[in-house]
Amino acid sequence: MSFLEVTSLTKKFGGLSALLDVSLKVRKGEILGIIGPNGAGKSTLFNTITGFHKPNSGKVVFDGKSITDMKPNRVAALGLVRTWQLIHVISPKTALENVLLSFHLQHRVGIFPSVLNTKTAYREKLSIQVEALELMEDMGLTEYKDEIAASLPYGVQRILGICMALATKPKLLLLDEPTAGLSGAETAKIIEYIHGIRKNGITVMLVEHDMKVIMNTCDRIIVLNFGTKLAEGTPQEISKNQTVIKAYLGFETKNNDDSA
């Protein structure tokens, strides 16, 4: 049974179809890569799945529940959580405050007791602080916890963004270009984290431009071009697929070896 099932999803902006009749399935426990040239509709796919865009037609079913017209916060509460491509953190707050904010869904005590700071609310506040610090330690962020998020190095901000998404206790994590603009060493670190996330039982869906990341992490790859699904398969299959190579390079190669 598939964990996330997208059925003939279409999203139009005016006359332009950003997504046209896209269907895909995500299996539980896998790492699925979404690749495609610029403007292929990868980010639109993420935005539409997580409820930030309303699809013109099509269906999204997550974990047996239809989430097609659900608000983003409800989608996140169900365990389908995304990260962002450009701004990952609340800039003027410290790293710890960012993570504490992300623990919002874990609060069981309501708003009124929290404001009045009752005994149970206080106890919960402490336990969540401990959890947040533990999570930050796992992600290697302890030394940055009291620094303002905007002043952190770009790579650390990225990791903090992933840490915040993990704080919501997702079942399926959608990473939107997690390594864009990072150095080789930082990219290697992110790859390590992605494997770690999967080991913790979280399914991962990944939009990425860096082929090295895709080939090193993904079990399966889906290729988008002009809003439609071009191909689907294992990294090996995709790297040999002629239509994919044509979409990327603009011409067909006669004798292709392994992926570059």
Binding site: I87, P92, K93, A165
Partner: protein, 326 residues
């Protein structure tokens, strides 16, 4: 740290409650009552502004509170102490509906809508009262208040103001403040963490407007004659001026702003005609010289005085290693 803070609060409250014993002048007492009401309006309006919506219609909810109190006691003959919480509830409810109706808007369209709402409420008042001011009966006596004298209103306003400031203080120190801040900074990111931003905004607007309504319910019997001119757009913008001049970044900002700007025009000659000019000048001055508001004054002075070449050097030394370290 904990105990001195509490002691300080007790001392301030004590002084505020004992003030009428020392001050004979009704004029000053009257001024202090308005300072209290303006503090409530400014600090609750700040709470709304902190969620990132441009809310300019606070005075409309003050008006609703005032008129609920007036109509309830005068025409329905209800006890004032029944009407008082009711006026807060009705203001909050109207704000709730207003928030739901406008939840898709943000930025300037929302600001225009709040401005329009002020006019809608004001014109409704004009229509209902056919443009004439209406007299409001004094509140029924309760406990040791009988509202025959001005200082009874003073005690009541002080208690109400302190209660609301305390609530705002609790909110400021809870996780709600963190969430509001995040909504202001980046709404999509906050939403993706599972936080219902619209519900938070509406709840904050509703709570703040309920407080404004309570303030209005005190205002109406206090001034005894209520007319639509107290609730025009100008009055709503003056509340924003309190917030801006005092400083939006801190809970104490609007309190300082409301105190400063309510008392300042009284100290200068020809106050009635000069009020708007004084406010305009203060806003410009504060935007130029104190963008952080009056609350940032001590810090600004400290910075101006002590930032020397040596300190700049020190800052450089402490900052660079962190940036190099990955």
């Amino acid at each position: 740290m904990q105990i001195p803070k509490k002691v300080f609060a007790v001392i301030v409250i004590g002084i505020l409650l004992l003030l009428p014993q020392w001050i004979e002048s009704l004029y000053i007492l009257n001024l202090l009552i308005f300072v209290g009401l303006n503090i409530i309006l400014a600090s609750t309006n700040r709470l709304i502004l902190r969620t990132g919506v441009w809310f300019m219609g606070h005075i409309a909810f003050y008006a609703i509170g005032a008129y609920v109190a007036l109509l309830g006691t005068k025409y329905l003959g209800l006890n004032y102490w029944l009407v008082f919480p009711l006026s807060g509830m009705i203001s909050g409810l109207v704000a709730l509906l207003f928030g739901y109706a406008t939840s898709r808007l943000s930025g300037i369209p929302f600001a225009i809508l709040t401005v329009a709402f002020v006019e809608v409420v004001r014109l409704t008042i004009v229509k209902v009262a056919s443009g004439r001011p209406v007299s409001c009966p004094a509140p029924d006596p309760i406990l040791f208040f009988d509202f025959s004298q001005k200082d009874h209103y003073y005690y009541f306003v002080v208690i109400l103001t302190i209660a609301i400031i305390y609530l705002l203080y609790l909110i400021e120190n809870s996780r709600v403040a963190r969430t509001i801040n995040a909504i202001h900074e980046n709404e999509p990111l906050t939403e993706s963490l599972g936080i219902n931003c619209i519900r938070y905004k509406i709840a904050i607007i509703s709570f703040s407007c309920a407080c404004a309504g309570l303030a209005g319910a005190v205002f109406a019997p206090y001034v005894t004659v209520v007319g639509h001119t107290s609730f025009n757009l100008n009055a709503s913008i003056i509340i924003l001026i309190y917030v801006v001049v005092g400083g939006i970044g801190s809970l104490w900002g609007p309190i300082l702003g409301a105190m400063f700007l309510t008392i300042l025009p009284e100290l200068l000659p020809g106050r009635a005609s000069m009020q708007n000019i004084i406010y305009a000048a203060t806003v410009l001055a504060s935007l130029f010289f104190l963008p952080g508001g009056l609350v940032s004054l001590p810090e600004t002075i400290r910075k101006k005085r002590f930032v020397t070449a040596l300190q700049l050097l020190k800052q450089k030394k402490t900052k660079t290693p962190k940036n190099i370290k990955k």
